[in-house]
Symmetry: C2
Amino acid sequence: MANDHVTDPTQATDTDPLVVFTPSGKRGRFPLGTPVLTAARQLGVDLDSVCGGRGICSKCQITPSYGEFSKHGVTVADDALSEWNRVEQRYKDKRGLIDGRRLGCQATVQGDVVIDVPPESQVHRQVVRKRAEVRDITMNPSTRLFYVEVEEPDMHKPSGDMERLIEALETQWGLKDVQTDLHILQCLQPALRKGQWKVTVAVHLGHTGQSAKIMHIWPGYYEGSVYGLAVDLGSTTIAAHLCDLKTGEVIASSGIMNPQIRFGEDLMSRVSYAMMNKGGDQEMTNAVREGMNALFTQIAAEAEIDKALIVDAVFVCNPVMHHLFLGIDPFELGQAPFALATSDSLALRAVELDLNIHPAARVYLLPCIAGHVGADAAAVALSEAPDKSDDLVLVVDVGTNAEILLGNKEKVLACSSPTGPAFEGAQISSGQRAAPGAIERVEINPETKEPRFRVIGSDLWSDEDGFGQSIATTGITGICGSGIIEAIAEMRLAGVLDASGLIGSAEQTGTKRCIEDGRTNAYLLWDGSAEGGPTITVTNPDIRAIQMAKAALYSGARLLMDKFDVDRVDRVVLAGAFGAHISAKHAMVLGMIPDCELDAVTSAGNAAGTGARIALLNTEARVEIEDTVRNIEKIETAVEPRFQEHFVNASAIPNSSDPFPILGHVVTLPNVNFNTGGGDASAEGGRRRRRRRD
Amino acid sequence: MANDHVTDPTQATDTDPLVVFTPSGKRGRFPLGTPVLTAARQLGVDLDSVCGGRGICSKCQITPSYGEFSKHGVTVADDALSEWNRVEQRYKDKRGLIDGRRLGCQATVQGDVVIDVPPESQVHRQVVRKRAEVRDITMNPSTRLFYVEVEEPDMHKPSGDMERLIEALETQWGLKDVQTDLHILQCLQPALRKGQWKVTVAVHLGHTGQSAKIMHIWPGYYEGSVYGLAVDLGSTTIAAHLCDLKTGEVIASSGIMNPQIRFGEDLMSRVSYAMMNKGGDQEMTNAVREGMNALFTQIAAEAEIDKALIVDAVFVCNPVMHHLFLGIDPFELGQAPFALATSDSLALRAVELDLNIHPAARVYLLPCIAGHVGADAAAVALSEAPDKSDDLVLVVDVGTNAEILLGNKEKVLACSSPTGPAFEGAQISSGQRAAPGAIERVEINPETKEPRFRVIGSDLWSDEDGFGQSIATTGITGICGSGIIEAIAEMRLAGVLDASGLIGSAEQTGTKRCIEDGRTNAYLLWDGSAEGGPTITVTNPDIRAIQMAKAALYSGARLLMDKFDVDRVDRVVLAGAFGAHISAKHAMVLGMIPDCELDAVTSAGNAAGTGARIALLNTEARVEIEDTVRNIEKIETAVEPRFQEHFVNASAIPNSSDPFPILGHVVTLPNVNFNTGGGDASAEGGRRRRRRRD
């Protein structure tokens, strides 16, 4: 530290004042006159400082407590700290300081004292997450700011300016073996001279084993912040959170459509595009990188920050997007054995990926778990931490592929299941992406068999007053993934659909909503033809598509349960945007997920995005997830005979006279069968007796 | 090693055959059937292999000796090695094999045997240097080739292809923590499949502390080589050697003019250009990088290799060129305290410097010694190794600045002296760069005072038959640096020039060659006016310019001698292109260098370029020179009062009646004085009594 005081805190005796820090409880004796910041450093108390104790940055604010403290056994006199000084007054006048706060680098120990370090003065402060069941994020970002005073050049000791800066970082901050990028060398000399040999540098501390690198240099004391991006690169959308790397706050969030969509809606059609078109992979790589840059420009503008202050970015994505983003032809991912070019995490420079952020910005990609289970699934594992769960948790990230994790503290299994795009509204006769105009929620009256529904863009149900008005601009355009699931589950509950997935005729069901549709029947959800709008029906092929998708999802989960040797799980977490909108009740009626108490089913929202944010804000978490991924047992559904077996058995929709409790109600599924030719549709995929293997 | 044999060499007993390797003398007992390559590896014998013992690369050729060997105490039976096998026969048929040679991976030990490892089978073979007094170069290049067999992907163990390649490098070659560049990930999968999971990889092993990086990948076994560049980036010319990184051979050498010359002939005018023109430094950076790329294209074409096979490059240059090449404004180098942006060595990627060689190629810049003593001087120190010299050696690299090293095993001092461009023919009335048409050698008959000379481009002296014919195309255009030095020294020897540097009149000297030139006289070397050519004279201002330059050089050397507390040196090494052409006798007559036995003055040629080549071929040498440079004591002439003092005293040209032996002759300098006004020109700069301080 630059602030060298006469007192030597290492030479404290038993008669020296006792200093107790809260909330850590760390304590020690220090000679009279020891600055509080020095005492904190000596004890390893987490007290921030950018300026190294020079009274510039005010990061080391502390709150002394006066009086008697039975818990700590310390009586604190009013003069336990040195008097309020000019530096503190100047800071207070200029920037303001909460009453009772002192600057830790200015206030010195004069007697026994209890000192509280408020959260905003801690380097490794906690960023609180919205959901109660998951851990908070501990701040430990890759890049931190350090203010240093650099020795001036001397002809008698001709070392370079950079070498003297590196020496200052070592002696003033204890940073070892700091390296630099070429671009810093190019702007170093003017910065040092403009700042009169005082500069603030952003140092990328890297993760274990990497050497620290100087990222940026500002003349004098830099008051601003540096930023990082947590990016969830999905097949359909790219979503980014812009975070302040000093506070951990998300200062802007934004998303765009993945520009690769023009090469194919789903992943496999993009892999095909690369296979059929020479240079097709490169086209898609360029498209996604351009999209990324557009998104970054947009998010920086929204947050009103300079894009060049973004020094770190973490990306999560599925394996195909991972390869296409990196410029690797995804050819091998389109065929067995689905070999990844690389499965480990990657630490790259943003320029290597053509990203226009800070010229020295670093990029981190989480590791992939397997050829079908990507860095996005790793991010979900980081966010939901099944490996730290006492109870057995099933985490399902539903998308074009469902990534499934099952585990607890003992072990974690992972697989991917080819659900296809039906859950996203594709392959559905009236299906569409979740966008304004799409039916997203459905209820069917079991008596009248009449539906009511809600449309994205309106808060009203279709049978409420003003509904027509509320959808005047969007219209009713189709049905999205969550809508089709609710519709089918409600059809089953209302008895217009049997366990095998057949829709009854008007005669069989007693409602004119059931209309003939070729050799089968369809259920009419909405007839907009009078106003020139669409007629939205749920057809038997729609049911089949959803049956295939949910069977794939269920079978993947069952396969992991087999491998775990259990018949039920304690908790289910639905991740992904789709998971956020899906109704647990309807998912269970459909038999998408295995048996579980219904209130043990929760939605994690965009858990992959949250995982990216954790890895951005805490480099320790990167080491942790790399370790977790190495230990996850990967199950390849394509080569597991049991998967096929489960799949065949899981296509039916639950058929049971057993009532089961849903959200406090008792639900009984009607025992109807519209298959005139009879059938062998079993119901493994749904209602199963709750039994444990013994 | 892939070639796993049944026998386990670690379990040898006293009765097992004894294997002695020459020239190392390493010996050990090995079970019957141990491959010679395995025995060599076990004993740490330097026996090359790229394919890891698979009988593909033939790098492990050895020569068994049969009969009795008193030195080694071994009697070798004819069947001491296994029989010549099919793999060896196939290799011999296809590529040829010297009689008596065997493949070390195929021949197995069957009895006591003495095995010679020929130089070309050694990894760390010696590259022999032309000059006897310097050490040979030990091959230890940054980048080596490794042939590996990679495990195929398996859905049950879904690791990435790269992770399996890295594992293969570790298990088959013992390479730890190998990392990779993004571009390798982009071409990895097709290469592995094309090579049927056998590939050759070029690995950059880095220097201590750096992690190994995969640079390139070839399907199957790659027979070719990879290349490196040793580049001497001078103010005037850029010279490069292209080296084979397998053999150490220089396969092409080439040079171009530094395109920065259009911004200023000398360094200080380039620094001024940068100061006077906004963006001027960037213009010069672009110019030198473009020139570099043109040179690389030219040299690769000359060697008929693909430029993309150049994976490593080492650069040496003076501080201003260093900064301009790196894109750093050299502003600070133009004024005290001459602060370098960075003085340490730099390991960069070629793309950062816009160099179009291998996309992952690495670049190494030697450390700078001080603000005026650059990486070129460090390279001279590496080549001439004063720090390893038993006797006291003075190394002088003469250019626009003279870099001077003085030292021995105990310590090394360094300084730079501002000689200015006179030694390069600039600031001389008839001066020109060393190019065809320039007078480079001069003799003046002491009796007749008539000159004879030689011109670059002709092997004849001007008074020999056919001279006129031989210069018909070039003509006689001027006088270059070495020419002017010889001319002035010869003028002094012939008595047409006095010790203070005044040319006598025709009357004083008795020759009409001495002509009036304003208020002083000039010496007419060549009158080409009859044929419309130039009149080449040596004028008094020319003498002054050379006096200034030689005084600067001499004073720098003297200053270091003062610091070393000596009055004379044991050896003088003249480095640089100019050093190669300068005549030691004339340099000493002029008083350019301090007292020394004349036959202890040698020319090192382009020692900076040689130093670059050493650092290219041997990464250990990089560590060594970094260490040496840290220990070199830097003397800044600008702040040393003694320098100024020496400079004033050194401007005269030796004036002594003491005869001194030059190349076996005894030379006496005439004791003339043309300074009619008298003068105090001392002759410290030249003839000094040989005395040692005691």
